[in-house]
């Protein structure tokens, strides 16, 4: 049978103590507290390693008076010494100062009994007369009692003297229980179970004979908060990797842009209802620069006013550079696409932009004024609508949607414009992206001479479906407990 570390330790100490020991003395030689000895030894006894005997001991202790007498002698001993110093005879009255009255009577009783001294009548009343010196056995025993004594070690004679001393109120006899632990001969201690593996155990080599106490492995473990990446950002990273795998280069633009890049370059007329499609946040405080050359500004002006060289009729109004220079928070990531085109005018181009956009709205479970948008472009000679559908179908598949369908739509900067729907096994058809071919009015001023397909996704909608949440605000959950317990998706 296996032993715990503390059981083994007690057994070890008992062996060193010669195989038999009192519990109390075992406590003093080991580091095991006396209070723990009983429960541990009970376990050992139940496992058959030791026997426990309960012993009742008579402990003899001196009373205060007994202590005095042990040091100074019993009254009769002191009286004999007094008589000797007075020449063997002393009047009764003269000893009253040396002994108390009850001591005198006890001494006289002893003297009479042993014939050591007698009381005789003298000229001045009674006198005590020493007859012979008799040794006092009681006095000798009392002296031994200055150190604790077990009554069981006394002879019968001594024991009767002890009882006399007790009756004289000089000693007390108390009964005390004590446990005697004794090794069961021939029982070899089995392996020792350790609670905790320590470097000491490993370094000392104790592990060779020791075994660890088995745990209840079915019990619930303590809670632990791991460091983790944010699930929403991980999803966006996954989308980025899909696009990189499809050969797209990541592009970007600024959080704060001018209306020129957000609207005008995208052929969204300054006075056209399409501009209301993207209700936007104008900014005050820090203002951005347009950062477009004069050629580009003039081309965009002409495109808006009369179509310029694009073959378009334009919007037919007076374009204002001041309006175009106003700062705003970008409302669509298409800005990233057109800025990319402005700096990559040679085909082929394949780029995506994925970041936050900002639009005023009533904030609720489906609308937030700040959300992520993904915008992508593919440009090159011969690129057409079939390629647009091909890219969207492929991207949909990579995201896990095998069915996709298309519907004509309207975006001011693409023509044709389409919306795409993907089929979710539980939710059915989900409208998830808008797409099209950039209009000539967009491409020509940028100096792009080849067709470009473009598409934009409100990626938060897909993130919500993927992460299994129903409130868009949970993508930015401010609840640490939610983030700590978020699983895999």
């Amino acid at each position: 049978m296996s032993l715990s570390q503390s059981e083994a330790a007690l057994l070890d100490h008992l062996r060193k103590a010669g195989g038999r020991s009192e519990a109390r003395s075992l406590a003093s030689i080991s580091s095991i507290p006396e209070s723990s000895i009983f429960p541990i030894s009970s376990l050992l006894a139940s496992k058959g390693y030791i026997t426990i005997k309960e012993l009742i001991k008579e402990e003899v202790a001196l009373t205060d008076e007994g202590k005095f007498c042990a040091q100074n002698g019993l009254p009769e001993v002191r009286l004999v010494a007094l008589l000797k110093s007075m020449g063997g005879r002393a009047p009764m009255s003269s000893i009253a100062g040396a002994l108390k009255p009850d001591e005198i009577s006890a001494a006289l009783g002893w003297g009479k009994k042993t014939g050591s001294f007698t009381v005789e009548k003298g000229p001045k009343g009674n006198e005590i007369v020493l007859k012979k010196e008799v040794p006092s056995e009681a006095n000798a025993l009392l002296g031994r009692l200055l150190s604790p004594l077990d009554a069981s070690t006394l002879s019968d004679e001594e024991r009767s003297i002890l009882m006399q001393l007790k009756s004289r109120g000089l000693v007390e006899i108390k009964e005390a229980k004590t446990l005697i632990l004794e090794l069961v001969p021939g029982k070899q201690p089995a392996e020792v179970l350790l609670n905790t593996m320590t470097s000491d155990i490993i370094r000392s080599g104790k592990w060779r004979e020791a075994r660890l106490r088995p745990y209840d492995v079915t019990a619930s473990p303590p809670k632990m908060a791991l460091g983790k990446k944010h699930p929403y950002l991980e999803f966006l990273d996954e989308v980025r990797l899909i696009l990189v795998g499809m050969g797209f280069e990541e592009a970007t633009c600024n959080v704060v842009e001018t209306e020129f890049w957000n609207f005008d370059i995208l052929f969204q007329a300054q006075d056209h209802p399409a501009r209301a499609v993207h209700d936007s946040f104008r900014v005050k405080g820090l203002q951005p620069q347009v950062g477009a050359g004069r050629d580009l500004l003039d081309a965009v002006r002409r495109v808006h006013e009369d179509g310029w060289e694009t073959g378009s009729r334009g919007w037919g109004y007076k374009w204002s550079e001041e309006t175009a220079s106003r700062g705003m928070l970008r409302s669509q990531m298409t800005v990233g696409s057109v800025k990319y085109l402005y700096s990559h005018r040679k085909p082929p181009v394949k780029a995506f932009s994925l970041s936050k956009v900002f639009r005023p709205d009533v904030i609720d479970s489906r609308h937030m004024i700040e959300f992520s948008q993904l915008d992508g472009i593919v440009g090159g000679e011969g690129i057409n609508v079939r390629h647009l559908l091909g890219v969207l179908t492929e991207f949909g598949k990579k995201l896990g949607f095998t069915d996709i369908k298309f519907k004509p739509s309207y975006y001011p900067f693409t023509e044709p414009s389409i919306d795409a729907f993907v089929k979710h096994p539980k939710l059915g058809w989900i409208e998830c992206l808008g797409a099209g071919l950039f209009r000539p009015e967009v491409l020509k001023p940028l100096g792009i001479g080849f067709p470009v397909i473009a598409w934009g996704i409100g990626i938060d909608r897909l993130a919500m479906i993927r992460l299994g949440i129903s409130d868009i605000r949970e993508l930015h959950s401010a609840d640490l407990e939610v983030l700590r317990t978020w699983g895999w998706w």
């Binding site: 990189v244 797209f248 209802p273 820090l286 928070l329 082929p348 005023p360 004024i369 067709p451």
Partner: protein
């Protein structure tokens, strides 16, 4: 995108579909309308803002007729009456200079038609009319007035008539102050000395554009002749609104009578409902669509979208575009119609054989590395909004006032500006999680917008915080040193005295002799402001400074 309500039975009747016709939803989606919901006979349709001709049942029915029959279904009847006349007074030119009008004779409007025209008028106001400012439409019972008409601007004190839905005559200012429509649209004209006024030859007021019509000229179930005016600031918007109103009304019957508008310096006749010519080259159509299209097929497809294609000349077709198709600006718009008629879902997708190399933005490798290091150190990543408030960025953390990118018209006091630091957002986050088990270790790696050479610049920062019942400066300092080691940099520290940190328990982080961030124990005053009851040690790093480390074979 506008959403309109129509009657399914009415639509089917006008579109020439049998009463029990199925598949209306897919038919609608083929012509750029999407059915949002259905409730009995009523259906809600989302239409696109470039197609005002689909803002009412009449236009949708016309598009369905063309689409199902494969031929243009647009025609209007004109009356043989001379044009009505309207004189524009010089006074109106200062206030609301453009007016265009039309009359429709011999029409009887049912209840559903009346509802459609009111809805159409409202949708046009919202979109092309810029909420009546740029263009506003009035419809009157022509039988109740006596042409010729006069369009002028009068002093509010000189104006008096009974406005629609009122019983007593009101003055110009009273109309703005007392009537619901007056209150709603007063902003357009209230700062003008004179208000626009449309009246007849007997001085009877038709309306005070763009606010309200007169009760006297109200259109009722007995009305058989209509007079329509559109006034505004912009000729193009006014023209579109009139075209769409008139072409839609005429779908219900009636004959068109034009109106001669006499300006002080010119005379025009409205409405202008001629077809416009556009040239379509099949070569371009094929290039855009990726389809092989022959001329005859193109003609059939274009006609089914309501156009009048002429006989093809080789690979070129002159297409007459009906006046209500205000969205057709360019050849590509016709190509889109052609693809729509072909059916978008009939176009075979093809993955483009364009060979390109994919790549992520600079900074991505660093971002990935630093996030991994912090996750390894037991930090939970958080994602907070970029938009926040002065309260979070300045007041609560006791940071100095400074310039931000601020939203001119915020929709919520919680989101009024763009953050320029992450740490206040992290403290805000910890404040919302005071009830969650400690220790709390969180970080965010994201964009902030800070002033750089006079303008706003997007910069990547990373911030992290440790909060527990006991937290020391050394704990976050150890994170800083280990993090820098993790990107092969050696950090040293210089005492810093700056909010939101405790004096004597904050440091600047110095790498290669330059300050790259700050760390320290956060001042309890800031903690209390954010509702945090445990000490916090935190760090913010301008991590974007290390993006150049990414280049693989740097010196």
């Amino acid at each position: 995108m506008p959403t309109i309500t129509i009657s399914s039975a009415d639509l089917k009747a006008l579109a020439g579909l049998p009463e029990g016709a199925e598949g209306l939803e897919s038919l609608l989606s083929s012509i750029k309308c999407s059915q949002e919901s259905e409730c009995g006979d009523e259906i809600q349709i989302e239409v696109t803002s470039d197609r005002p001709d689909l803002f009412s049942t009449e236009g949708i029915a016309r598009a369905i007729r063309s689409y199902t029959k494969g031929a243009s279904e647009y025609s209007i009847k004109t009356s043989n009456l001379d044009p009505l006349r309207l004189t524009v007074d010089r006074s109106a030119l200062q206030v609301r200079p453009i007016i265009m009008c039309a009359a429709v004779r011999e029409i009887s409007l049912g209840q559903e038609a009346a509802r459609q025209f009111m809805q159409l008028q409202e949708k046009l106001h919202k979109t092309y009319g810029a909420d009546r400012k740029k263009a506003s439409i009035g419809v009157y019972d022509l039988g109740k007035v006596k042409p010729p008409f006069r369009y002028s601007a009068g002093l509010p004190t000189d104006i008096t008539f009974v406005p629609l839905d009122s019983t007593a005559p009101l003055g110009g200012r009273e109309i703005l102050e007392l009537t619901p429509k007056g209150k709603e649209y007063a902003w357009i004209i209230s700062d003008q000395k004179r208000f626009p006024l449309l009246s007849d030859s007997g001085g009877r007021v038709l309306s005070m554009p763009p606010i309200i019509n007169s009760e006297e000229t109200r259109v009722t179930s007995e009305t058989s002749d209509l007079f329509i005016d559109v006034t505004g600031l912009d000729e193009k918007s006014v023209g579109i609104c009139l075209n769409i109103m008139v072409t839609s009304i005429l779908e219900r019957g009636g004959r068109l009578q034009s109106v001669e508008i006499n300006y002080p310096d010119k005379t025009t006749t409205t409405p202008k409902l001629e077809h416009r010519e556009h040239r379509l080259r099949l070569e371009n159509a094929e290039a855009v669509s990726g389809l092989k299209i022959n001329a005859d097929e193109a003609v059939r497809l274009l006609a089914s979208m309501g156009h009048r294609p002429r006989k093809p000349m080789g690979r070129e077709i002159i297409v007459e575009v009906p006046p209500y198709r205000v969205d057709i600006l360019h050849e590509v718009d016709l190509i889109e119609d052609l693809i729509m008629a072909f059916g978008l879902n009939n176009v075979p997708p093809e993955y483009p054989a364009v060979a390109t190399e994919g790549s992520l933005l600079p900074g991505n490798r660093l971002r990935s590395r630093v996030r991994d290091l912090l996750v390894g150190a037991g930090f939970q990543e958080i994602a907070t909004y970029m938009l926040t408030s002065r309260e979070v960025m300045v007041d609560k953390p006791k940071l100095p006032q400074r310039r931000f990118v601020e939203i001119a018209s915020p929709v919520s006091s919680d989101y009024t500006l763009v953050r320029d630091l992450l740490l206040p957002k992290i403290l805000d986050f910890l404040g919302r999680n005071a009830h969650v088990n400690y220790p709390q270790r969180v970080f965010e790696y994201s964009l902030v917008v800070r002033e750089s050479s006079g303008g706003p610049a997007d910069l990547e920062h990373v911030a992290a915080a440790i909060s527990d019942h006991k937290v020391s400066f050394e704990e976050i300092q150890a994170v800083a040193a280990a993090l820098m080691k993790g990107i092969s940099k050696e950090a040293s520290f210089r005492p810093l005295s700056s909010p939101p940190f405790i004096e004597g328990r904050a440091a600047e982080i110095i790498v290669d002799g330059a300050r790259v961030g700050a760390l320290g124990e956060v001042n309890p005053e800031a903690l209390v402001n954010f509702g945090i009851q445990c000490p916090v040690a935190a760090i913010e790093l301008e991590i974007y400074r290390f993006i150049p480390l990414e280049s693989l074979f740097r010196g």
